[in-house]
Amino acid sequence: MKVKRDIEFLEKVEELSGQSVNACIRCGTCSAGCPFVEEMDVLPERIFKKIVLGDKEGILEKNTMWICAACFTCSVRCPRDIDIAKIMEAVRQIMLREDIDMVDIENIDNIRELPQLAIVGCFRKETG
């Protein structure tokens, strides 16, 4: 499979997360513990493989990082001490910093009932 290698993307992810993606040994512990993995297009560890290969395009169209809820379960269990939540955040930020929003803030159906925590948290993670 030919992949267009974007080294800048890999470097940016490592810079923003402060983590070494190459340290991943593909053991699958992160995916095994993630409570949201059923909703993801692609498992977290496959995302890392794509980052290492510099396959930026292959990642940006997936939903993995948007399903991630930053619950840190993966981070505390990784046998290589990689803070995986930070890597997910880095990929999200690379996209959000293009000034795009992944949530339509003006059209939230039950905004009257939602606790402020949910709204503030969602906007922090999903708006640019």
């Binding site: 939230i108 905004i111 009257r112 009932e113 402020q116 503030v120 906007f123």
Partner: protein, 233 residues
């Protein structure tokens, strides 16, 4: 002219162009001295209408500053531009249909972007009225409408807070909603006002009003001079 030669002249830059103006003028009168005629960005000239929002830098100071042109002295080396308008669309609402008893998220509902506030305080630093802008945004987020209304009381809607906000908040519209809700729902109702409105509707004052309308100027003046200040009895 001898008068002008005595006066010290300073240099200001308006949209990058250099002008010599006498020291001691406000930014507004300095621009007029330089030959600009105001068709926008000018109103009461008294620091109250919020029309003359100005963004400027002072010589030797890296900070980007904001203030009203009619209230700020022009300084040597000042580099400025005026904002004729700040784009901030107001949320639509019917004041009579806001049920704040049941809906404690009423501010968030109309201005959801307040959840993006990062507490950077840029809005407060921009305010020419020294209002605690960030504080009233935060009060709105936590549902304390009374506090938001009180803190924003002096707002003249100049828009300088909103133009720099990284969270794209429309502060002055948010504050307006808070004050309207406070006036309509939180403040105690004035029984005198309700009584007066009722009396007007019943036509209690119609006859007197008609009499006044039919009076000549001399008669009006006489009635005015002899008016009573307080209610009898």
């Amino acid at each position: 002219m001898a008068e002008e030669e005595d006066k010290k002249m300073i240099e200001i830059y308006v949209m990058g162009r250099r002008y010599k103006v006498p020291e001691g003028l406000t930014i507004m009168t300095a621009l007029e001295y330089a030959g600009y005629k105001y068709v926008r960005s000018c109103g009461c000239r008294g620091g109250f209408c919020g029309a003359c929002s100005t963004v400027f830098r002072k010589e030797g100071d890296y900070k980007l500053m904001m203030d009203l042109a009619c209230q700020t002295a022009a300084e040597d080396g000042m580099f400025l531009v005026q904002l004729p308008f700040v784009p901030a669309v107001r949320a639509e609402f019917e004041i009579d249909e806001l049920n704040i008893e049941e809906n404690d998220n009423v501010m968030l509902e109309h201005y959801p972007e307040i959840a993006r506030c990062v507490s950077c305080n840029t809005c407060t630093k921009s305010c020419p009225q020294d209002i605690k802008v960030m504080d009233y945004v935060q009060a709105s987020l936590r549902g304390d409408i009374d506090r938001a209304a009180k803190l924003s009381f002096d707002c003249i809607q100049c828009g300088l807070c909103s133009i720099r906000c990284p969270a794209d908040i429309k502060h002055y519209h948010l504050a307006q909603l808070a004050r309207r809700i406070k006036g309509r729902y939180i403040d105690p109702k004035s029984s005198e006002l309700e009584k007066m409105v009722q009396e007007l509707k019943e036509g209690k004052y119609d006859e007197e009003l008609e009499k006044l309308c039919d009076m000549s100027e001399e008669e009006l003046k006489k009635v005015y001079d002899e008016r009573k200040f307080q209610k009898e009895g």
